[in-house]
């Protein structure tokens, strides 16, 4: 037996145990499957509900209605709507409607027009035509009526055609946005949510794991063989590898699902955003996990976990909520300033980078500040954890923990 062991070897052993025990846990395996599944469902369901546009099938019942065929097709073309038009006798048209072969029957005559729809009851009830189709038919009837009146008044067909030509309407924007801005907003929110959820979920798991080592008195045995900093680092690394793997699988599942269902437009900046999310995950997870690990060493029993994590959950939630403010107003100065602060930067900075253009110096500055915070936190963790892990009695306050020495 060799008594000496490098920091790296100790960290590797602790991380290996953390990872293998996590993979062995039934609850973890369940969550590992559940998270990608939820993401796939979130992407697939909207796509399945809004099926690719099917043409609206309209039967024109009788000669009067069939005389509107040209106007109807022209109006549908102008409105960029998919419409198929079928000439039927009134009897055939109603039979087709009942059998579901057409969506609506248009009958006209005597200065009136009637549209008949089948109607159905279910998750997506249809008691009438979609508003766009109804507007289309109304515009067709109005146009036909005006043309008939004007023809009767002696207006020439050429003048009529010129008068009924659609006038194109152009929309100008004073401050043009990137064409994929909506996609970037969605990506920013998704990145913030992913970082927030992953850090929160696995940070809490880390607290529970450290608390278990303390309450089961395992820490007393471990600290006879491992430095407290190596023990914590190993746990952080082991859990971090698992969390990263979980996040990568979830992102991959989301991208594959989106490629299949075409639910959302992927912004052109995705290949810059993904490494940034990864980078900020590493920084954010490290920052929070050392704090969570120290929090775990403060508990007196497993039930104390919720109390000790509160000081870390608040800035994490705040960072995530500020993402919505960033989406609403990317020029907000407060959001910009807060995005540099280490507790909020890991969630807010990548979201800002996704949504709007950030200056080249902003991300490095936020990263440096976060790294400094991590350094300070590791120093505190090294000092506090060993005595806190072997301290008896109930839950320790932060003040007490900071004043502890072994014994």
């Amino acid at each position: 037996m060799n008594g000496s062991m490098s920091h790296l070897a100790a960290v590797r052993l602790v991380a290996g145990r953390e990872l293998s025990e996590r993979l062995r846990s039934r609850a973890t395996r369940f969550i590992s499957v559940l998270m990608p599944l939820l993401v796939v469902l979130l992407i697939a369901i909207p796509a399945l509900v809004h099926l690719p546009s099917q043409p609206t099938r309209i039967a024109l019942a009788g000669p009067a209605a069939q005389s509107l065929r040209g106007e109807l097709r022209a109006a549908a073309g102008a409105a960029k709507m998919l419409v198929t038009v079928q000439d039927r006798t009134p009897g055939q048209a109603m039979a087709d409607l009942k059998a579901g072969r057409v969506d609506a029957v248009l009958a006209a005559g005597g200065g009136q027009a009637v549209v008949t729809v089948r109607g159905s009851v279910g998750y997506f009830s249809t008691q009438t035509l979609p508003p766009a189709v109804q507007s289309l038919l109304q515009a067709t009837l109005d146009a036909a009526h005006r043309q008939a009146v004007l023809l009767a008044a002696g207006v020439s067909p050429a003048t009529l055609r010129a008068a009924f030509q659609p006038v194109p309407l152009a929309v100008r924007t004073l401050k043009p946005l990137p064409t994929d801005q909506t996609a970037r907003d969605v990506a920013g929110l998704a990145a913030a949510m992913l970082l927030y959820m992953t850090i929160l979920l696995y940070g809490q798991s880390l607290v529970a794991s450290v608390a278990q080592e303390k309450t089961s008195r395992m820490a007393e045995v471990l600290l006879g063989a491992v430095r407290s900093v190596d023990l914590l680092t190993g746990k952080v690394v082991g859990m971090g590898i698992f969390a990263f793997g979980q996040m990568a699988i979830t992102v991959a599942a989301g991208l594959v699902a989106n490629a299949v269902f075409h639910s959302a437009v992927i912004p052109g900046t995705i290949w810059v955003l993904l490494p940034m999310v990864l980078f900020w995950f590493v920084l954010g997870y490290t920052l929070y996990s050392f704090g969570f690990a120290v929090a775990g060493a403060l508990v007196g029993r497993q039930e104390d976990v919720q109390y000790v994590v509160t000081p870390f959950n608040i800035p994490l939630v705040l960072g995530f909520l500020l993402t919505y403010l960033e989406l609403a107003d990317p020029t907000n100065v407060w959001v910009r300033v807060i995005s540099f602060l280490p507790p909020m930067a890991p969630v807010l900075m990548p979201a800002r980078m996704a949504v709007s253009a950030v200056a080249p110096w902003e991300m490095p500055l936020a990263a440096i500040l976060t790294l400094l915070a991590i350094y300070g936190e590791v120093r505190i963790a090294g000092r506090v954890c060993a005595p806190a892990l072997v301290a008896g009695g109930g839950r320790l306050s932060w003040r007490t923990a900071l004043s502890l020495r072994r014994g």
Binding site: N2, L223, G224, A225, R227, R405
Partner: protein, 299 residues
Amino acid sequence: MLEIQGLEKRFGAIEALHDLSFAVQRGEVFGFVGSNGAGKTTTMRAVMGVLEPDRGSIRWDGQPVSLDARRRFGYMPEERGLYPTMRLGDQIRYLAQLHGLSAADARRDAALWLGRLGLGGRLGDEVQKLSHGNQQRAQLAAALAFGPELLILDEPFAGLDPVAVDVMSGVLRERAAEGVAVLFSSHQLELVERLCDRVGIINAGSMVATGSIAQLAQSAEARLWVDAPGAGPLWPDLPGVTVERREGSRILLNLGPHPDDQAILASALATGPVREFRRDAPSLAELFRSVLSSGEERS
């Protein structure tokens, strides 16, 4: 050799250890006995670095105890420390690796020790599924599986059935024979007496007696069992000799500070036949009570 010198430790107003000194040699089983709260666990936790003493030194083989040295110590805390949901075999292997064994050696030794302690068929079970006694065996396996040079065992026999006690005792004797220093605490004084080469009695944070049972017995007041049926109720009328107890015709005599057993024998023979005449060997329990009561009288 483990040397503890002048150890002091306070917890607020309570003085847990006061100028505590003793040593445990390699190859020796040292029994650490004392009342509840006497300072046994505090001493062991100080050796393992779980708490820092306020004063004093702890040395192993002449050097202050470092983390590298502690990796060569097997430790069984009073409140058992094992991961409840981890598989037994994985757990012992992991702890052995943390103490410096290679993965292959750790796997081999974990299986070996769990097998020896009767847990060979439970390697794949979670620790929380084991009985209290089996968890105790598992904890001992964790302390043994990396070939430690020193074993620090806090109440290792508490709650064990007689068979498990025999198994554990055999293992400790065997380890000592291999040159391992064994320091363990226990309230089972008969067991300590049977198992230990030397004993240390701690009271209120101070070591009040150390030595082999024979050495401790020598320091106690000499006593004699005498069976002289012809002796009258006033016998013996000798200076310094008192009767401690009578059991029929048998009398237990306390010889006082200047024992002269030949004078007593002559006096007994003068009353008639003498059927029994032998020194009384006090048990550890009696020595323990005697040491504690004399300490209380002094204070």
